[in-house]
Symmetry: C2
Subunit: 299 residues, 2 copies
């Protein structure tokens, strides 16, 4: 990952435009004609970001959900998407999942490009949204004294992937489709993001693992985030709490808000922002940094 | 290509939003606030859209130019781009070419995503522009009686690719860098597009070959385009005129304009729009359709 991180850093230097917050997970914010646009692009490669042989309808769903989750973290409502599509094993199934996801998020397909390729499939989606609250929440606004909150449990996607990888024979009561749903069909929290946007000091979606993403928020904000691990809602058995805090793809929203914050939706307080310490995180009073195995880099 | 065309048709049906003109080569047009946004996304795969082993700086340049050319055909000025980048053989070279191209077009990098992949490199770029003239030119506005025009010669990219494929030993007086430049470093005609936009009835860029793209304009507009082949400026020897008219990647602008049109920039009249006939094209009075080998489908 060193090469990639160096490349991203170089891109960030190139992206000196004030709107260019949008490299790897964060969104670009662009003022146009009295409106504030929020733009994001996510790419996914077969065998890296999704399983070879996975249902293309689920792949389409996740591609849309990933981008919609970026908009959700900005409190934005989708205006539409552009698709970069490499023809794959079952384009009709992909299209079915795409249509279902776009209908779910009320996000029209505005355009895109289809290509033939010679290797594993690579997909890209650009989502364009309209900010519903200004200033647009960023991951950089947390202040010491703010509470740290999350919208719901983490670890569900991890269990879903395990079910998918184990196959139908391993499932107990539930069908494979049900037990793997959290991995196959993550849901972006657009409504929650819009509702929370006016109240938060910082917000981002948890795509790469709660601890890793919290460390990023801490770094961007110049604070340390103190987390009480047992206060984090998890979808797994208690014995797997540590994994659940490090696994990603649940697309919950992580945010900070001032002490006076009264939750307008059901959310969970998991800690607080404190003055910056050596490490970006303090988990159960133990300092943790990026070198301490915070999560999985899903690039 | 049948699969791909069927997929594109299915996507078009899905893209029922009024803004969704933007599938494969054309741009999406979106009204936001008091502005009209023009959005396009192009994807390129190694071994399909560029040569494996080609200088990554040239690949970056072409990726940007292709998208800028889509904006040019709409008379739009760039607001920025989002990059979907799969790490490749020389990311620093890619970055150098990207920076050069973005500076050339004054198009800031707003965001994007970098990923690792397991096969040939696949790249995507989304460009966002602001329309400078409304209504935004489309490929569908040609009317019988309009003149058909092109901004400059075709066939230069073909010669450039041949030089690149032949290698340094085959070049005569010019260096390989010079003789291959038209293929490696195409230039999008943004200024020309903005100047022409208020005058044209239809406009598009020539990316897949003059005849093939003209046939698309004819189909979209419901006219037949009559072309006098010898009036088309070419960059090749006369013996290769037929190839030059069928090769793409020169990124000239093809447009129609009413009979009263007075060119504000240097352009070449190559024919006219007439009432629709059986075939979309009439080349030197010979009817030609898509089945007649009009060009190369660079998908």
């Amino acid at each position: 990952m060193t090469t990639e991180l160096a490349f991203i850093e170089a891109l960030r230097r190139l992206a000196s435009h004030p709107a260019a917050r949008g490299l790897n997970d964060d969104c670009a914010v662009l003022e146009v004609g009295g409106e504030t646009l929020v733009l994001t692009h996510d790419a996914m490669a077969e065998g890296v970001h999704y399983l070879a042989g996975q249902d293309p309808a689920d792949v389409a769903w996740k591609l849309v959900a990933t981008n919609m989750s970026d908009l959700a973290a900005k409190g934005a409502e989708p205006l539409g998407v552009l698709l970069g599509y490499m023809l794959g094993s079952d384009d009709a199934r992909f299209l079915a999942g795409l249509e279902e996801a776009l209908a779910h998020y009320n996000a029209p397909l505005l355009g895109g490009d289809t290509i033939s390729g010679k290797g594993p499939q690579v997909l890209g989606l650009t989502a364009i949204g309209r900010a519903t609250h200004r200033p647009v929440p960023s991951r950089a606004g947390a202040q010491a004294g703010d509470g740290l909150w999350i919208t719901g449990p983490v670890g569900a996607a991890m269990l879903g992937l395990e079910a998918l990888q184990s196959g139908p024979n391993s499932t107990g009561a539930g069908s494979l489709a049900q037990t793997s749903e959290s991995y196959r069909r993550p849901v972006a929290l657009l409504a929650e993001g819009r509702t929370l946007a006016p109240h938060v000091s910082a917000m981002m979606d948890v795509s790469d693992g709660l601890l890793l993403d919290a460390a990023r928020m801490a770094r961007a904000s110049g604070v340390t985030l103190a987390i009480a691990s047992t206060s984090v809602p998890i979808a797994t058995p208690e014995a797997r709490r540590s994994e659940a805090l490090r696994w990603g793809e649940d697309y919950q929203l992580l945010f900070t808000a001032p002490p006076s914050f009264q939750p307008p939706v059901a959310v969970h307080r998991i800690g607080e922002a404190i003055a910056p310490d050596d490490k970006p995180l303090l988990v159960d009073r133990k300092p943790l940094g990026e070198a301490d195995g915070l999560g999985y880099e899903h690039h």
